[in-house]
């Protein structure tokens, strides 16, 4: 349709990039199956025979049932514990299931397959099981979806040994990381910010993988490191842009994998800049942001010119009202005000 040449990057939406990764991997690996609610939709409706009604509640899996059939694009009843556990059982016996948890807020309905079963299975069995399993889910506020459909819980999953957690930020990183996850013999949670689905970016048509566990230095800088997770990349870039006016050179690092996060890249950066701000949309306590701050504050203690700042959501559920929700999500303005001392010092240094 768009460019067809190999190696050619087309402009795709975040959701289409995910869709393409799924389709390409499924063509090559028949063990990959998708399970979830309304991934196709309309199952059993005569006039929709062979066609999905929806292709996912947000349209991400559109067209896949048409190509791969109902045995591989499996619409489930509303039974998260059942199908997530089934995904673990199928993975342990040689499939590569890709269950979709429509909103990560529904984790409370299907945590055991991840916490109690899948993440521990290989360890409990003394290495005698492999779990090729990619859990797709969504997180994030900004869609006026209120407290039960807007949370950011990748940190809760990242706390569990035996689970890798990836948070893409762009169509390009989404496709590359998802293809990598679909080749992993381990549980990877792939958490998509629902407000990014319509965002666009260049994406090569052929398959490529981005290494899980590797952060990307999106913009090099010398004075300050900003580490971002998922959509917060754009907040980080905005802050960097604003600081540029004061002559401050900001290194912006897109974390991409929140477990295991890339200590090497972060350490290298702080050794250069001596200052770090982490932007994480999750609630503050026991967050990935705080985890990084604790570790980097320790291992790079001698390089720190200022305390590491973590900018996050407040310690509250997500409010509905749009004006409150806007205050809830970390913004460039919030970053500048929460890190005001650090920035003031930097500015002063530059002026001096």
């Amino acid at each position: 349709m768009i460019d067809e040449g190999i190696g050619m990057a087309r402009t795709l939406s975040f959701s289409k990039a995910i869709n393409e990764a799924l389709a390409q991997a499924m063509r090559e690996d028949e063990t990959i199956i998708l399970l979830g609610e309304d991934l196709a939709g309309g199952h059993g409706v005569a006039h929709l025979e062979g066609k999905g009604a929806w292709g996912g509640v947000m349209g991400v899996t559109k067209g896949l049932v048409e190509e791969f059939g109902e045995e591989r694009v499996i619409d489930t009843p509303i039974s998260e514990m059942g199908y997530m556990g089934a995904a673990v059982g199928a993975a342990a016996t040689g499939m590569h299931p890709v269950p979709e948890l429509m909103f990560n807020d529904f984790l409370g309905f299907c945590l055991d397959p991840l916490l109690g079963q899948g993440s521990k299975m290989r360890y409990m069995f003394g290495g005698k099981a492999s779990l090729p399993l990619t859990v797709r889910t969504t997180h994030g506020a900004g869609a006026s979806a209120a407290a039960q459909h807007s949370g950011t819980y990748y940190g809760m999953l990242a706390a569990i040994p035996g689970i890798k957690v990836v948070v893409p930020s762009t169509p390009y990183t989404a496709k590359g990381l998802l293809l990598a996850a679909l080749k992993e013999p381990n549980i990877v949670v792939f958490s998509e910010d629902k407000t990014l689905y319509s965002s666009k970016g260049e994406v090569p048509e052929e398959q490529y993988t981005l290494e899980i566990g590797k952060a990307e230095v999106v913009q090099e800088g010398a004075d300050l490191t900003i580490v971002t997770i998922g959509k917060m990349l754009f907040v980080g870039l905005e802050v960097a842009e604003q600081l540029k006016a004061s002559g401050i050179s900001t290194e912006v690092i897109d974390l991409l994998t929140v477990s295991p996060w890339d200590r090497e890249t972060l350490e290298a950066s702080i050794q250069k800049t001596g200052r770090m701000i982490i932007i994480d949309e999750a609630n503050p306590h026991n967050s990935v942001g705080r985890d990084i701050a604790a570790v980097i504050s320790d291992v790079a203690f001698d390089y720190l010119d200022a305390p590491i700042k973590v900018v996050s959501a407040p310690d509250t559920p997500v409010p509905f009202a749009s004006n409150l929700e806007k205050l809830y999500i970390p913004s460039a303005q919030r970053v500048l005000s929460e890190a005001d001392e650090l920035i003031f010092d930097l500015r002063s240094a530059k002026e001096a």
Binding site: A53, F109, A147, Q148, S322, N323
Partner: protein
């Protein structure tokens, strides 16, 4: 309970158990729900209302005649499709509309929105965005009723889709072994999102699952106010008399999509499903009520007009209400 409780065909009305005063209130609330929903739909389309909005329109004959038989201290639990339950349980339209608009004057100060409207003082324990999330809550409320011997009962509304969640199983089992005063009302509108119930549920009906929990189960035509009133009324009676829980499956249909924006390609364009879809419970009830002398055509006209006015007023109230203050972001986490 009548044999309708275990019968496979929807029960038919055999007389009228509804007192005239109740009938009027029922008709008024059904109109309130429909008008309220149509207004929400209109304002959502205009972009005035953000987020996910799941409309109850078309299902009024379920919630309203049931809640008519409850007191303010009886409780209900609800679903993501909760506007109808709220109105039926007596929540104020002004506060509801303001909530959906995210205003400080909303029933939840604008912090809950459509999916979380609640008024605990009215026994409305909240619309609930978690499918199947309300069932255990209802068991807990009923446990409270049992332990404190208040005589209150609990009605638990949930969808056909929710009946495939583990919470359905655990909750019905708990309610049964503890003989709790609770009525489980399954609103079977044929779909969970875009997925037909006949695909998602191994059992043809939800009602027949009752036997797995050793409780009475019944199906009823959820478009018939009288059938719902009568059959659920018996279950409410059972609960009040300490005879334990029941499961009633009300067959109904959504007038609109799963949420606003849904193209509804999965709905039938002809046949039985379409015929059932086209039955509108509101004129059906009016016709019945006028014929049986529960109220007059003139009463109906007045009720309809007053309802439209209430909804207009609710919209004005919402639109003119202030946004929540920035500070309120941090409030109400703990008591």
């Amino acid at each position: 309970m009548t044999s309708a409780m275990t019968d496979n065909v929807p029960a038919t009305a055999t007389g009228c158990a509804i007192p005239p005063e109740s009938a009027k209130r029922i008709y008024a609330r059904m109109n309130d729900i429909r008008n309220f929903e149509n207004k929400v739909r209109e304002c959502f389309a205009k972009g005035e209302i953000p987020g996910f909005v799941h409309l109850y329109a078309g299902e009024e004959a379920v919630a309203v005649p049931i809640c008519e038989q409850l007191t303010d201290s009886d409780q209900i639990t609800s679903t993501h499709r909760g506007h109808g339950h709220c109105v039926a349980k007596g929540c104020e339209l002004n506060g509801m509309m303001a909530e959906i608009y995210g205003r400080a004057t909303g029933l939840c100060k604008g912090k809950g929105g459509s999916m979380h409207i609640a008024d605990v003082s009215k026994g409305m324990l909240g619309a609930n965005g978690m499918v199947g999330g309300g069932l255990p809550l209802a068991v807990g409320a009923a446990l409270r009723n049992r332990n404190l011997k208040t005589g209150d009962i609990t009605v638990c509304f949930f969808g056909d889709g929710a009946a495939n969640e583990g919470t359905f199983h655990e909750s019905l089992n708990l309610a049964s072994i503890w003989k709790l005063p609770v009525v489980f009302v399954c609103e079977n509108n044929g779909f969970g999102e875009a997925t037909p119930q006949r695909y998602a549920s191994a059992s043809p009906t939800i009602a027949e699952r009752a036997s797995a929990y050793n409780m009475p189960g019944a199906q009823v035509d959820g478009k018939s106010v009288v059938d719902v009133y009568t059959t659920v009324g018996e279950a409410i009676e059972r609960a009040r008399n300490g005879e334990g829980p029941s499961l009633i499956e009300c067959h109904t249909y959504r007038m609109y999509g799963h949420f606003e924006g849904d193209e509804q390609t999965y709905k039938a364009k002809e046949g039985d499903e379409k015929a059932f879809a086209d039955k509108d419970c509101i004129p059906l009830f009016k016709e019945y009520a006028v014929k049986h002398g529960l109220f007059s055509q003139h009463d109906a006209d007045e009720i309809e007009e007053a309802s439209i006015e209430r909804v207009e007023e609710a919209l004005r109230f919402a639109q003119e209400s202030p946004l929540p203050s920035a500070d309120s972001l941090f409030e109400d986490v703990f008591s």
